[in-house]
Amino acid sequence: MDPDFRGDSDHHDGTSDATPGGYTEQRRPGELGFAIFLSVASLFLLYSAYGISGFEALSAPGAVPMATTLVMAVAALVVTARTARFPLVPTETLGKDILPPLVLVFIGFLILFGLLLKPLGFVPTAAIFLVVSVKLLARKGWGYTFAVALGSLVIIWIVFRVIFTVLLPAGILPEAEFIQFFRNLVSGGAS
């Protein structure tokens, strides 16, 4: 069995755990940059690990961090050297295959989500997030968008807030009253 086998030739993008992306003999756009970044970061961490306790003793708190960051640095440098030798994949570009605008937009959404979660509370933030992202991805009418987004939010909220009893920031909604109502309905739950 070829250890480099990754499902089939159409799945180079790592879309499942089973098929890590990348090519074996070519480099993707940005791959070299990533490898260089990893090398620099590892060397910096190695320096930082040296700062923990230096070469004080083999059992010092810095010993294992130094060893691991050394391994990281060496591995990253080897990867960089290997990657640099491969030819670029001719059909791919950074903006189309690695970091398309949609991915950047979603990363932005997630950052915003984190910023709004505390002040606004979970339910309103999640509602905005779901409506906007379903609208953006599905490109269907507002009726569909609202129905799907809010419908799934209600299910998620009931499952996680009431059954799993996960604490979520309440924010501007009077959540406690709702919950008591549901508790009485599903008395017992899994608590």
């Binding site: 250890p3 890590p20 708190p61 379903v134």
Partner: protein
């Protein structure tokens, strides 16, 4: 007698039985829906079941694990997309069968064979684990350290392409695990004098980021992709078919258990090796391998489910996970205040037998759900990605937040999500990172214990390794994996096997 009672705990509390059932059911679908993975589901679930008692939490996770390993085969057969790493080999003959319109038969045989393999794995777990844990009591700290290194290396080397990338990922995981105050001396490590780093990085945030967010971000590129509708008719296989493949499935189950039991190797490798084995021993398949041979379906599916039981052996007895999912399960046990390892088997044997019971039950549920409900199944698999992706992201955020109620965990998760996204694109395996994070503490503690007991003398440390057969075997294995990556070895390999293997 106590043992049997502990195994039957699950039946005395209907709530637990329901949870295993729900977990298995959910696992099958999670494994089957492209874009959702078991690793993702279990990592997100840890944070939600955090406040539960340990039994219900374990019941749910065991169900999802068992169901998910099996569920991955469905998409492999129907869509040629392995839903889980362990289903890679299944796609090779399963998809050609589906293309011929034999999807129902393929699913039926897969289900029964998965059940059979799972059963054998669990039996071996029940019989072997007590002995292994007795044996493990004689392990020295250095053996644990070597085992941990070996585990991380094996995950990095066998589960996917480049070993160097795997080694990098494993080391990165260990480094992430070391962030914060050192538990023994209270020295700060990698904190850069930031207060938020002092408590370390929540491993749940790392896990959810790497397996949840990064996967969802990748899926954004396939939003428009539609699931292929397959006509599925009769799926319950005839007894004759089962009997015909019984001898082969016995062999491949044994392969599965053994590979699963090696620390660091799980169902994916077991399945590939079993597939290879089937190819070698089947002299006259009805159809050639790769074009829809039934043997090519039976072998990986028995092996990957047998590996589940196998993977629990090192996890329960040594505290060393067999793959990414068991690494996450160990994390879950930690969170519930349990410490997997030989002492767990001695202090809380009930816990072990309960898990065996839960696995058995999940296996039966898998058989039942696998052979029924095909109609609902096709509906769920066709759920549009434009809805699934936002939901995964939402659940990831909730999950990361829920454990410590802290927004900074959400940002860690996001950071690791984006990092993991690039890692996936560039072929760095994510499994070793998680294994590294989980094993970081064990490795660090045992290294220091080992070297202190040798009075800080490396010479004595190696003398210890070379005079103990167990340590020596582990040490040689670690060295071999490293040597296999050096240019010298590669050129030798090229000379021996020809250029194709390079």
């Amino acid at each position: 007698m106590d043992t049997i009672l502990a195994m039957l705990t699950i039946f005395t509390q209907p709530e637990l039985l329901v949870l295993v059932g729900v977990g298995t059911f959910a696992g099958i679908y999670i494994g089957a829906i492209p874009g959702l993975s078991v690793t993702m589901a279990v990592s997100i679930l840890i944070s939600f079941t955090f406040s539960w008692d340990v039994y219900p939490a374990i019941s749910l996770m065991v169900g999802i694990y068992m169901g998910g390993v099996y569920g991955g085969s469905r998409t492999a057969i129907l869509l040629n997309i392995p839903g889980a790493p362990s289903a890679i080999a299944t796609a090779m003959d399963g998809y050609p069968m589906a293309k011929r319109g034999e999807a129902g038969q393929a699913i039926g045989v897969t289900t029964v064979m998965s059940f059979f393999g799972g059963l054998i794995g669990i039996l071996v777990l029940a019989l072997a684990a007590p002995f292994v844990s007795d044996f493990a009591l004689t392990f020295q700290p250095r053996d644990y350290m070597l085992l941990a290194v070996l585990g991380i290396l094996l995950v990095g080397s066998l589960s996917s392409g480049s070993l160097v990338k795997g080694i990098f990922a494993g080391a990165l995981g260990i480094a992430i695990g070391a962030v914060g105050r050192d538990p023994l001396t209270f020295t700060e490590r990698f904190t850069f004098d930031l207060q938020i780093m002092e408590g370390g990085i929540s491993f749940i945030a790392v896990m959810i980021g790497m397996f949840g967010v990064s996967e969802a971000l990748l899926q954004l590129q396939n939003v428009g992709m539609k699931a292929v509708r397959q006509k599925i008719s009769k799926i319950v296989p005839s007894f004759g078919t089962i009997r015909k493949y019984l001898p082969l499935s016995l062999q491949t189950s044994s392969i599965g258990v053994i590979i699963g039991a090696l620390p660091g190797t799980g169902g994916d490798i077991a399945a590939l090796m079993a597939y290879d084995h089937a190819k070698r021993v089947t002299k006259n398949p009805e159809r050639p391998f790769g074009e829809g041979a039934m043997e090519g379906l039976v072998a990986p599916e028995t092996a990957n489910n047998a590996a589940v039981g196998g993977a629990f052996i090192p996890m329960m007895t040594l505290g060393i996970p067999g793959d990414a999912v068991t690494a996450i399960m160990i994390g879950a046990l930690f969170i519930h205040g349990l410490n997997p390892g030989p002492m767990l088997m001695i202090d809380q044997p009930d816990m072990f037998w309960f898990i065996v019971g839960a696995l058995l039950t999940a296996n039966v549920f898998m058989l039942i759900f696998g052979l029924t409900g095909i109609k609902i199944f096709t509906k769920i698999v066709e759920m549009p990605r434009s809805v699934i992706i936002p939901l995964i992201l939402l659940l990831s955020i909730v999950g990361a937040y829920a454990v410590n109620n802290s927004i900074s965990d959400v940002y860690w998760m996001l950071g690791f999500g984006v990092f993991g996204y690039f890692m996936r694109h560039y072929g760095y395996p994510l499994g070793p990172v998680i294994l590294g994070v989980i094993l970081s503490r064990l490795l660090d503690d045992n290294w220091r214990r080992a070297i202190i007991s040798e009075r800080e003398d490396l010479g004595r440390f190696f003398e210890g390794i070379f005079t103990s057969p167990l340590s020596l075997v582990l040490f040689v294995a670690v060295i071999l994996i490293f040597v296999s990556q050096t240019p010298l070895w590669m050129s030798m390999k090229r000379r021996v096997f020809g250029k194709a293997t390079s």
